[in-house]
Symmetry: C2
Subunit: 141 residues, 2 copies
DNA sequence: TATAGAACCTGTAGTAACTACAGGTTCAAG
DNA sequence: CTTGAACCTGTAGTTACTACAGGTTCTATA
């Protein structure tokens, strides 16, 4: 769809970086504002000019987000990488901790799924002006 | 823990309403501000004085939220109830639609769980200054 | 080279659903 | 009548973006 040179050139504007990473333009500028992505040099006219290092870093951030890491976790991961002296243990610990959160959330949602399914199953449908779902909500937790 | 009269008296301050519903005080005032909970009468000194109707409505709101309904969905449900002429079909439709969203989210999270688990499993641990998780993140989606 | 229009710029405000103050007033028990 | 817990208003902060408005730059084409 997007006819970008391959391999990526060493200089691109924000639109191309956006296209290559799938990260939208406003979000890229946002990442710069909050210090996740370093401010790139500018063209004579003031346009941001990115290099492959930015592409790499933004790919990392975006993938982390897709995997459900909070921005502060991504920031932590990047700090480890930037520091250079990270160990596999540290990274694994962060990953496993996040995995736990994901599993917890899955468990919570499965409970919801069960309750909602049960509630909906009790509906008789039709135009009856009464509903077991509504009653359940009024009954509370 | 909370020694409230049982059954609920017909007049209580916000602290008691909070204790009875498990909904925190700031949140109750927030619901009032956004029009989900009607503004109650006030004591001579200006304290909010709630009745059992408020208790019932707040219980409904809170339970809806616990079940993962967005506030606007809760608002919709309450509008149905307030309107009086709701049918079981309408409510069931909203419930099933929300159930779909929950199931989608579960599916998404399970994918995450798989990917994160695989990534973490490849870690050799130890103090090796290299990590398959980091590499996977740099590789992108 | 002129020009049009796509792409870029800054800065601000809005989203969801609360939560957390600060700085002051009221309630009620002893 | 005092004291301190509970309450009040109003504003700002949180997460991670997204959506403008109003203006400038880039670049392909005539």
């Amino acid at each position: 769809m997007e006819p970008f040179a391959d391999p990526p050139t060493s200089a691109m504007f924000i639109g191309e970086l956006s296209g290559r990473t799938g990260c939208n333009i406003e979000t890229i500028r946002y990442y710069e504002r909050v210090g996740l992505l370093p401010a790139p040099p500018r063209s004579a006219g003031g346009h941001r000019v990115y290099g492959v290092d930015h592409l790499k870093r933004l790919t990392f951030i975006r993938r982390g987000r897709q995997l459900g890491f909070a921005l502060k976790d991504v920031r932590g991961l990047l700090a480890l990488v930037d520091g250079g002296g990270y160990t596999c243990d540290e990274v694994q610990a962060l990953t496993l901790s996040h995995l736990d959160e994901v599993r917890l959330k899955i468990a919570d949602l499965k409970v919801l799924e069960g309750v909602l399914g049960d509630m909906a199953a009790e509906c008789e449908g039709g135009t009856v002006p009464a509903c077991p779902v509504i009653e359940a909500l009024f009954r509370g937790a």
